[in-house]
Symmetry: C2
Subunit: 303 residues, 2 copies
């Protein structure tokens, strides 16, 4: 279920996507709500969007509106509301990036619901690439995210195995990678959700705005992401370096972990990650378990 | 709160408004839902819309899509989703008709919520007229509705004072009239809600589809309504005839009624209606009460 207020916010976004500003009264008429109500709702939106109300106008900072980005070599499709960006990407051509402000049925790994509340960055990148790059994507994408957080925002993000991005043990970004064969190549659907200016959707999650103590224009993050995505194949040419980077950023290594798999729960110490992505967990007296990411439902750091 | 499914239905409408048909798979991609889910939802919609799924296509009968109407002398604005058509009409020019498939904050008389579920006809007519016609609107509009039901659908509708339209004592249409002065004339906002192909939203309501036992194309009703609205001034030139018509169509006359006013409840027999619209109720031993429609919250026929 969705609140009427959230829907009105999405109608406001829908109007402002192609026009930076609107006279508040005119916007109220277009949406069919009283101007006072619209002003109250727009004011509330300014907690999650770089939106200002001044002199009877409502103005959206273009650097926070993905529709204003024209990334070279990519088709950007930005919609207020979608079922999910992963599904919407199915019909798009390769090298499209689909961005939604809200998803009715956002998916995370293992069919878990993905909470896409307003002000976050919810995107799917559709990429046509070779098998080598595709097989490394689960390692490369979290590295890209950590690099952006560390180098462009000075924020100490790290990886929780297999590919959640955490800060202070709280999730700030999630990744869902799906693929299909296309002739001799692979079509990759890389879904990335980043808590940017949205309120943290769940316990143990955190948003960039909580860390920076201010709202940040989402297009900066999105352009950095697009830039790195364009260079995925190049990155995959140096598998040793990528693996080294992944291990460097991996918070899980040497931590005590609680893991839920299809076979049940186990507790142990994470001691290594194989080249092919499996986590090795020492569960006692030298006994080791090999965990496949696709069969691991949940992992928590518990020390 | 609104269900995700209702929102997906509104996204389907939004796509079909300007295109009579869509390949189902392409529509699923555009909305970002799996084709199987879209098909299930579209199938469910065909209970409330003249919508067909055949050979992998979804097709909306244009006679059920208000956007296909081009009424002479009127500007028709049709939106899937609005706060309310009354508010949206505020920014429109006179002789506009605003139609919404769903209202987030539909209003009835006395600020009561108006339930606008999918498949009904929810419209506001914005009319610039003289004071004489404006003062008669509360009598003329219900007459127009009853005439349409009786003459074009062969359905025995009648008026429940002051201006609900009922069939078998169940509400099928409601009216909300608001006005503002504009120079020496009156801007009228005539809100009309008709349960056409929607499921009856409340107990004691009924839809045209229940009576006809089939879905009916809404544009026929809407064009008839627009035609009559264009002739309101002409109708108001014959006040005697209008009054006679109103009394003829008024179910409430000589009925035992329970009335809720701001001063409390009363029970009595409805014996007359004044030229100025007040209902006269005999409450016992010749004692009569005069009820102003604007101060009467609810009236029920109880015999
Ligand atoms: Mg630092």
């Amino acid at each position: 279920m969705i609140s009427e207020e959230t829907i009105i916010k999405l109608l406001i976004i829908d109007k402002l996507i192609h026009r930076q500003e609107y006279v508040l009264r005119e916007l109220a008429w277009e949406i069919g709500v009283q101007p006072d109500l619209l002003e109250r709702i727009a004011d509330d939106m300014s907690k999650n969007y770089l939106l200002n109300i001044e002199k009877g106008k409502i103005i959206w900072n273009p650097a926070d509106n993905p529709s204003t980005l024209k990334p070279w070599g990519w088709l950007l499709i930005h919609k207020p509301l979608l079922g999910s960006t992963q599904e919407a990407a199915k019909g798009a051509s390769p090298w499209s990036v689909i961005v939604a402000e809200y998803m009715l049925a956002g998916r995370g790994r293992h069919g878990k619901k993905w909470y896409s509340n307003l002000g976050g960055l919810w995107a799917t990148f559709k990429i046509l690439t070779n098998a080598q790059t595709a097989s490394m994507a689960p390692i490369i994408i979290p590295i890209i995210l950590v690099r952006i957080f560390r180098k462009s925002y000075d924020v100490e993000a790290s990886i929780k195995w297999p590919n959640d991005i955490i800060i202070d043990n709280k999730k700030i970004a999630g990744i869902l990678i799906e693929g299909e064969a296309f002739r001799d190549q692979i079509l990759l659907y890389v879904g990335i959700g980043v808590n940017i200016n949205n309120d943290p959707p769940l316990p143990d999650t955190i948003s960039l705005k909580n860390i920076l103590n201010k709202l940040t224009p989402r297009n900066r993050f999105l352009s950095l992401l697009i830039g790195w995505m364009s260079r995925m194949e190049k990155l995959s040419l140096e598998p040793e370096k990528i693996r080294e980077n992944y291990m460097e950023y991996l918070e899980t290594l040497n931590r005590k972990v609680l893991v839920k798999t299809l076979q049940g729960e186990l507790i142990g110490k994470a001691v290594d990650v194989r080249d092919t992505g499996e986590l090795i967990v020492e569960v006692g007296r030298g006994e080791k378990k090999v965990l496949d990411p696709t069969l691991t439902f949940e992992l928590r750091h518990i020390d």
